[in-house]
Symmetry: C2
Subunit: 429 residues, 2 copies
């Protein structure tokens, strides 16, 4: 982490002020920049430090009360500084989706990594084998969802030869979904194959409920519960067949950022001291203003007054842009586009308005506004007659889907409640 904090920021990095090329991340706070005073170029992505830490604490408290472990999904932010924060808040490890993400974690010293995905390419398997040889304390798990996949790992590991077998979880999926064995029988067959291979050790069962989305919340909950029950049945089948390599340590993992409470109330209740239930939410940390915020309100409605849910997750991300043109009445063009803000789930919304030199602090925008189009580098925003808007006004956009907003930035800013910049965060996509 020290090496990251002492790497100079490159000239031309999006969001970096004019005079700051070569600045070290560790020296950002000493610049006394303030977003609202125009020190930061727009567009910029800011993370509100208070909300970020609130969210980190909220999830730690929720999972601790449920006696569930946490391997937050690193793919959301791909920011080693935030991985560090998550680990300081008690995370058991970090989840990744790809070998590239794994390499970033390793570069910055993450020791326990769950790759919630298949490891397929020969060079990726060789990389893992190399890390296992180089560092005996590196603890790594990945998924297998077919006998072919298991045999493929075995073949490469026989050549690449780490001393210890590779720890794998069998993945359970849903028909029409993504990866994962479609039936209990198939998953058990794959588990048997794994346990028969010398270079692999079966350490548990995994599923990802987030691929289920019918549009009907009740139906989703029914199907998700069924998937989790199927994963539990696979676990029971593997245990009764003695397929787990370490009967004192079996991992059951599920849980993105929308349904982790259902994971807690299903497989989280398994009464087996050997079982570690691991949830992998990633979006809880930055949270958002739309998609995950709606999911969180549903989660609160599902749980009612059930213990263990003090307060709410808070949107911590804002993409700030300025009004660059008001070419006709009721239409403004903003200086942020597809390349600055997520648009895969829905368009962003205007959360705050600030007029430099006039406003004392950001407030809600008057009247009605709607982003109606995103171009690569522009947003088109409709606004009502009540909306007071001028070229140069600054707007905070609330986003939907943190993953596809983070990946549009190499550098983002941590800010306090007054938008003083307290630090910079680098991402590695």
């Amino acid at each position: 982490m020290d090496s990251l904090l002492s790497t100079p920021l490159e000239a031309g990095t999006k969001g970096l002020p004019n005079d700051a090329a070569g600045l070290l991340l560790s020296n950002v706070a000493s610049r006394n920049w303030n977003l609202l005073q125009g020190h930061i170029p727009l567009p910029s992505l800011v993370i509100k430090q208070r909300a970020l830490e609130h969210n980190a604490g909220w999830m730690r408290d929720f999972l601790e009360r449920q006696n569930i472990l946490f391997a937050p999904h690193g793919k959301t932010t791909m920011a080693p500084q935030l991985f560090d924060l998550q680990l300081r808040y008690g995370a058991w490890g970090i989840t990744v989706a790809t070998a590239q993400q794994l390499k970033v974690c390793r570069r910055f010293g993450v020791q326990r990594i769950l790759m919630a995905n298949q490891l397929v390419s020969v060079s990726d398997i060789e990389y893992v084998a190399g890390e296992m040889r180089r560092d005996e304390t590196f603890e790594f798990y990945c998924l297998v969802d077919s006998s072919e996949g298991a045999e493929r790992l075995q073949r490469v590991l026989e050549q690449a030869g780490p001393a210890k077998p590779l720890r794998v979880l069998v993945e359970v999926g849903v028909p029409g979904g993504r990866t994962g064995c479609r039936t209990v029988d198939e998953a058990i067959r794959v588990a048997e194959k794994i346990s028969a291979l010398s270079r692999l050790s079966l350490y548990g069962v995994e599923c990802y409920e987030g691929v289920i989305s019918t549009g009907d919340g009740k139906e989703d909950e029914r199907r998700i519960t069924a998937l989790l029950q199927r994963a539990e049945t696979v676990y029971q089948g593997c245990r009764s067949r003695r397929l787990f390599a370490d009967k004192g340590c079996v991992i059951l993992s599920a849980g993105g950022s929308a349904w982790f409470d259902v994971v807690a109330s299903t497989i989280g209740r398994i009464s087996d001291e050997a079982v570690k239930v691991i949830v992998r939410s990633g979006c809880y940390l930055p949270h958002d203003s739309l998609f995950y915020d709606r999911h969180f309100h549903k989660l609160q409605a599902r749980r009612g007054s059930e213990a263990g849910l003090p307060g709410s997750l808070k949107p911590a991300m804002e993409v700030w842009a300025c009004v660059q043109s008001i070419p006709e009445p009721g239409l403004a063009v903003l200086s942020a586009g597809k390349r600055d803000v997520s648009h895969d789930l829905e368009f962003p919304v205007v959360e705050k308005w600030f007029r430099p030199g006039i406003s004392t602090h950001p407030g809600p925008i008057a009247g009605e506004t709607a982003i109606i189009a995103l171009h690569d580098q522009h947003a088109c925003m409709q606004f009502s007659k009540e909306t007071d808007l001028a070229i140069g006004d600054m707007l905070a956009l609330g986003i939907s889907h943190p993953c596809t907003t983070f990946d549009k930035w190499r550098l983002l800013w941590l800010v306090d409640d007054d938008y003083n910049v307290t630090g910079g965060i680098r991402t590695f996509f």
Copy 2:
């Protein structure tokens, strides 16, 4: 450019082989990597060098025959090495959309830059003023589409004080579109305002026809022709009012990657020696397999056997991924997702199939395939009974919209016809 070629590649960069951290771009070719031999991790973005250079030459030849200048849009690739190639192929300058893109161009020595956008933020205006003070040979143009915008530039430039006035073009737009004056009268009023301000010089007229897209090609052509005619009327009005700062040099600029032939056949025909017509296409260079390829076929159909169109632009980009799971009959999950390939216009298509250890070269995939879903890190692909597919098979995805594929990569590979890696290209988004 030397500094770029001698910067070490960072560990964890997506697409970088395991053992290559610290490698200099200038030494990539000496590694003798080959994509098909598994030297490059997947997913990776490759650019076929022959197609790239063909496209660069095609556009140079087309525009030269039309006697039109070229400022290719740098936003597409944000790759200074490709800007360098474009300038070597005779480009007049480079177009950018944002101050960040401008900074990247300046960092890597681009001297003539057209910012096809408003310059709004105080710190961005100050940056330009600083560059103008620092380097008298820096030639910069940006757009203005309102008197407020012009006055804003004047105010900041009075403080920031470059010796020479800032060169600006008045922007003409379309109702319901993006930026730009909606009527001729309004554009003339803005031009009059510009010419009355001491710190600004009016150098021309600009429009962007690419925002017009009704879904009906004939109607689009009619509206685009009308927009270009309106821009010409604004130019005539400014000339007759003697608003241009340099009557020996007036810029008329339009033209993305879909309609540049119509630009050539309208404002490209203005008989005024003082006029430089500048087209700004960006996507022509990598081209694509879907959106711009269809547009190019329409362009060829529009132009018929008209002189000056030897051959076609060729898709130069491929995102390679592998099959990581075949969880049910007819469904494969690939190791590339929303974060690796554009999805804002349409999903990618499978162009080539290669089975390591078996295939001798990539060929078309048997049967029917379709990408039916993209997740952050996965693609779900349906395939027919005729399709021969196994875990570990490599697939080349043809993309739609180069801009939103390039921005998902920090590093991409140049390859020859046999997929030998001949160089690496860094991007700066």
